[in-house]
Amino acid sequence: MSEFSKALSISTSGLQAQASRLRHLSENISNADTPGYRRKMIPFDTRMQNGVSQVEVGRMTLDDRPLERVFDPAHPMADATGHYEGSNVELLIELADAREAQRSYEANLKMFEQARQMSSGLMQLLRR
């Protein structure tokens, strides 16, 4: 495995990890108003493969913070006190996280593009 293909495979693993993070974030955001929905979180981990440490997305876990109690007596799921349990998603956190995921995705993409440019520059030597 040459250095460039190593670099490309590492960048690809980073892109996949960030994309899967973004997918979970959008699930969280779209379910922000679903009663009883718990926020999904995915851990990032390093995995050695072929002598390079790639990024790996671990098992998804649910956030076990208490659900938000919303007062709405007219809601079909309201209990005797007029409250029902909403989701524990906080939009601000999700949006900040999404922005970070985007930034990291772009950084990985730039690294991928650069490794590609370097290897095609090498190929230009043969072309004459």
Binding site: F4, A7, G14, Q54, N108, L125
Partner: protein, 129 residues
């Protein structure tokens, strides 16, 4: 005459080093959000390159690792300064990595330019264009 031309060997070693550096930077960037990951770096080309034995007084290496440099296994990874690690223990700084990546790209371009120009000198010495 055409064996062991130092300029080609140097340009080759420089390009290899730039490629390794690019791989290390890509690894750091990919792990920019992994908790506990410590950023790594390669020593600079200037520090690790020792010219091949053909161009200087030869000292024979009797054991692997006696003479570093051209044995192509110069990638001793070192950890970067991690005093700015974030609370989850990750010490990757995207901006520093971008700087290193640009360095690697420029080094690679430079080595290829040297290689190409030496190649054209060689070609014209053979009377070809």
């Amino acid at each position: 005459m055409f064996q062991g031309l130092t300029v080609f060997e140097t340009a080759y070693a420089m390009a290899v080093h730039a490629g390794q550096k690019q791989a290390v930077v890509a690894q750091n960037v990919a792990n920019a959000d992994t908790p506990g990951y410590v950023a790594r770096d390669l020593p600079s080309f200037k520090d690790i390159y020792a010219p091949a034995e053909s161009s200087r007084v030869v000292a024979r290496a009797t054991r692997e690792g006696h003479m570093h440099g051209h044995t192509s296994d110069a990638r001793t990874l070192m950890e970067t300064d991690n005093s700015f690690a974030s609370p989850d223990g990750n010490s990757v700084s995207i901006d520093a990595e971008m700087l290193r990546a640009t360095d690697a790209k420029r080094q690679h371009d430079r080595s290829l330019a040297i290689y190409r120009s030496a190649l054209s000198v060689l070609r014209s010495s053979l009377g070809r264009q």
